[in-house]
């Protein structure tokens, strides 16, 4: 493994240095039919799950075949995507915000061959490489974070929980039988890199044990005042600790005030909190971001804790399925999961989804908690 230099000279880092040029400009990647009709689209239609047509004012059409993507993908897989794009789409493709891949062709006659090609490609283990779907009143790809594959704060895995869930709801990826779109999102800790807090169903990794204190290193590695100020509940204070016969500067944690957000660990690596038993999954439901009919909503916690059950998280997928089936059976056309829950009332939501309501689901975090308690005699038995 000989080192290959690209031309960068560490002796003179500023020589010929190019910086701050930004991303590639978007329009150099547009397929010709997109470049020609930008801003002139008249309407669109979903012809079947995963297949869209957009029609322009002048009559031009673009057919899009949408397939699920893993988000985590290797160059071998990307090269295969490129090969498909070159074979069918003159070398053009795009990704959606939910990590689907879209192959676009400018003529209906090209759709069948493209679909057939995509459907026949499978991994040796049996899974599809490019399943077609993810449109309309169904379930599209799950946006998610890194999890155990590459992150230092997760309480669960991301790619694994998503694979397990998408296998379980796969029929709804390839169907449009639901009352409205149902968006599932996944974040492996409270930081929520993916901001899953406004999803129809959110899978959230969560720690349940206060941080451990690595007294020997804490003062050497961390800025103690930063660790203290990072705590949103004020549970951390400075402390002098006896450590192997020496007095060291460290911190003390008031465990009862800890709500396990992990912000102290983000500021101070000597306060790790991950744990095999403590860590697991929170399920949230009823959020949305669109302004359609009702206003955007936050997801609500509906299951306070499920254990990490590797590799397929069966309790989690079972609970998600219960919610989807109850919603599918009971909601009205166009009604999002959260709109349905509000119409029937949350007490009824827990009945219909066969979920247990526990004390953990009553908000006790600061002022906003008050606005979630019931100040009325209007409720259902």
């Amino acid at each position: 493994m000989a080192f290959i230099s690209s031309g960068y000279n560490p002796e003179k880092p500023m020589e010929n240095r190019i910086t701050d040029i930004g991303p590639k400009k978007y329009d150099q990647f547009y397929p010709p039919v997109i470049a020609k009709n930008k801003g002139k689209w008249l309407y669109h239609e979903i012809l079947e799950p995963g297949v869209l047509v957009h029609v322009a004012e002048g009559g031009d059409e673009v057919y899009t075949v949408r397939v699920g993507g893993c988000r985590l993908m290797t160059t071998t897989h990307i090269r295969e995507i490129c090969e498909i794009a070159e074979k069918h789409c003159d070398g053009h493709l795009r990704f959606t915000t939910r990590n689907n891949i879209e192959f676009m062709v400018d003529d209906k006659s090209k759709v069948d061959a493209l679909k057939k090609d995509l459907e026949t490609r499978k991994f040796p283990g049996g899974s599809f490489k490019f399943p077609i779907g993810g449109t309309g009143a169904g379930i599209t790809n799950i946006v998610h974070t890194q999890g155990w594959i590459h992150c230092h704060t997760p309480a669960t895995d991301a790619s694994g929980t998503v694979k397990a869930t998408m296998d379980e709801v796969f029929k709804d990826f390839q169907d449009m039988r639901l009352p409205a779109p149902l968006r599932i999102s996944m974040a492996c800790c409270l930081n929520m890199c993916g901001a899953v807090h406004c999803s129809d169903i959110a899978i959230l990794g969560y720690h349940r044990k206060p941080p451990m204190l690595d007294h020997e290193y804490l003062d050497k590695i961390c800025e103690i005042p930063l660790a203290i100020s990072s705590c949103p509940t004020g549970a951390i204070k400075p402390a002098k600790v006896e450590w192997k016969g020496e007095t060291v500067k460290s911190v003390a944690v008031n465990n009862e005030r800890c709500m396990f957000c992990g912000n102290c660990y983000t500021m101070c690596p000597s306060m790790p909190l991950s744990d095999q038993i403590g860590d697991g999954i929170v399920l949230m439901a009823g959020g949305k971001v669109s302004n359609r009919i009702s206003q955007p909503k936050f997801s609500k916690v509906v299951v306070a804790f499920l254990p990490n059950e590797m590799p397929r998280w069966p309790s989690m997928t079972k609970t998600i399925n219960q919610m989807i089936e109850a919603y599918s059976k009971d909601a009205r056309k166009y009604e999002r999961l959260g709109e349905w829950a509000e119409r029937i009332g949350w007490e009824r939501f827990f009945d219909k989804c066969e979920l247990e309501f526990t004390h953990h689901l009553i908000d006790d975090f600061r002022d906003p908690a008050y606005y979630t308690w019931r100040q009325s005699t209007q409720f259902k038995f």
């Binding site: 990647f29 997109i34 915000t97 399943p131 500021m267």
Partner: protein, 436 residues
């Protein structure tokens, strides 16, 4: 394979694409190395990554260390240091840093360009990516410190391509597909996103903020990039005039010639389309009626929720007087609970060179950089100092659109200059009429 992975192997079955199968195929490609690539990081990095992930599946916790300050010269963002906490067992991933590569607007690509990225990352990294990260960047996962400058040099010199943002920076702005392929787009999301990204490269690469800052651009109130939930400044397309109606097409929907909601509900028999039930009755502001075979909209009362347009895209179209609304302060729960974006600018034209928009942004930043505490997101500062303060620093005239409802407590913080005669009064004068 170098490591047994019985738990991960169970994720190879089932219909959804298996990331485990993909990683295994990558491990094989590297081991065989038919292209004779002089790999610049360990050839077995992917096998070791599978090994360390299997270990996490066994013991239910991560094996990545916290932190590690690495980067490219002159930038404070774009690279995230990552080290394995079991380097003796998995030397191939002992150093395994992430590089964020700024993605193009709308995430359109050519195969040629993606292959160039693959060539670069096969040579100098693990060949593993995220397409895409949550903020939108192309993510290269896994390389060693000596490769960072080399990757950056090749990206900039060969591909005319920059790194994205990380840390207390402006994060790589992200947009929806916009007018490039969507009839609902009220402005060119890609053009605005690109212009602001270029304008604020310094803020993107050199940390000067209290914490992260995100721009996201939605072309319409449907919100496909979820800007209202996850960006400090959210730009959502909208319009001020009338929804355009094609009455013939309305009849075609009623007659069943066109599928409602662009065919999105075709997986179930919901019965014949009923305009009264599915459109008129669901309008949140009750501003529509269908009488005498004609659809009428009282546009003054319309709140532009998009429902009727979504249901009948061939009959109803967005208005012509278009622009965007700007909302401020959305974020995920850390630290002080989740926040949705709050309306700051009800309507602003989106026209090059976007000076009006840039003025809003810079006023917000000036305030936040002056007043924001370490790791305080804009939304938390707005909560701490108040929406009134945000309106004041941005010079926005308050109106009823800024609130769901007026305040129900009368604890109003009047300023001295707002009260006639000021606050200084003469106690002796007062005592002349009021005994002690």
């Amino acid at each position: 394979m170098k490591h047994e992975t019985p738990l991960l192997n169970q994720l190879e079955s089932g219909p959804w694409p298996s990331f485990v199968s993909d990683l295994k195929q990558q491990a094989e490609v590297r081991a065989k190395n038919e292209e004779n690539i002089e790999f610049q990081i360990p050839v077995d990095a992917v096998e070791d990554l599978l090994g360390v992930l299997e270990l996490s599946y066994v013991d239910g916790t991560t094996h990545w260390k916290h932190g590690g300050i690495v980067g490219v010269f002159g930038y404070g963002g774009g690279v995230i240091g990552r080290y394995c906490d079991q380097p003796q067992n998995f030397p191939g991933v002992a150093h395994f840093h992430t590089m964020r590569v700024a993605q193009p607007g709308g995430k359109y690509y050519t195969a040629e360009y993606l292959r160039d990225l693959c060539d670069l990352w096969d040579l100098r990294g693990s060949g593993i990516t995220n397409m895409h990260g949550s903020t939108g960047d192309i993510i290269f996962i896994g390389t060693t410190t000596p490769q960072l400058e080399e990757v950056f040099y090749e990206l900039t010199h060969k591909f005319n391509q920059d790194l994205g943002g990380s840390g207390s920076n402006l994060r790589t702005p992200a947009d929806c597909i916009g007018s490039s392929r969507c009839e609902y787009a009220c402005y060119d999301t890609q053009a605005l996103c690109y212009d602001l990204t270029q304008e604020y490269q310094d803020e993107l690469h050199r940390p000067a903020f209290p914490y992260k800052f995100k721009f996201k651009f939605d072309g319409c109130p449907n919100g496909c990039v979820a800007s209202i939930a996850r960006s400090d400044l959210s730009f959502i397309g909208t319009w001020k005039d009338e929804i355009r109606i094609d009455q013939e097409a309305v009849q075609a929907y009623i007659g069943g010639e066109m599928p409602p909601n662009a065919g999105a509900h075709s997986g179930r028999d919901w019965g014949a389309f009923d305009i009264q039930k599915e459109v008129i009755a669901l309008c949140p502001s009750d501003c529509m009626k269908y009488e005498g075979g004609k659809l009428e909209i009282n546009n003054k009362e319309c709140v532009r929720c998009m429902h009727c347009i979504n249901v009948m895209p061939r009959a109803l179209r967005i208005g012509n007087d278009r622009g965007c609304s700007i909302l401020a302060g959305a974020k995920a729960p850390i630290l002080d609970g989740a926040q949705m974006g709050s309306l700051l600018i009800p309507f602003i034209k989106v026209e090059e060179p976007y000076d009006e928009i840039k003025e809003v942004i810079e006023n917000v930043w000036d305030w936040w950089m002056e007043e924001g505490k370490n790791r305080e997101r804009l939304g938390e500062l707005i909560k701490r100092q108040g929406l009134q303060k945000l309106l004041e620093v941005t010079g926005v005239t308050p109106d009823a659109r800024h609130v769901q409802e007026p305040r129900s407590n009368p604890y109003i913080f009047w300023k001295e200059e707002e009260v006639e005669g000021g606050w200084d009064r003469d106690i002796d004068e007062y005592r002349k009429h009021h005994q002690r």
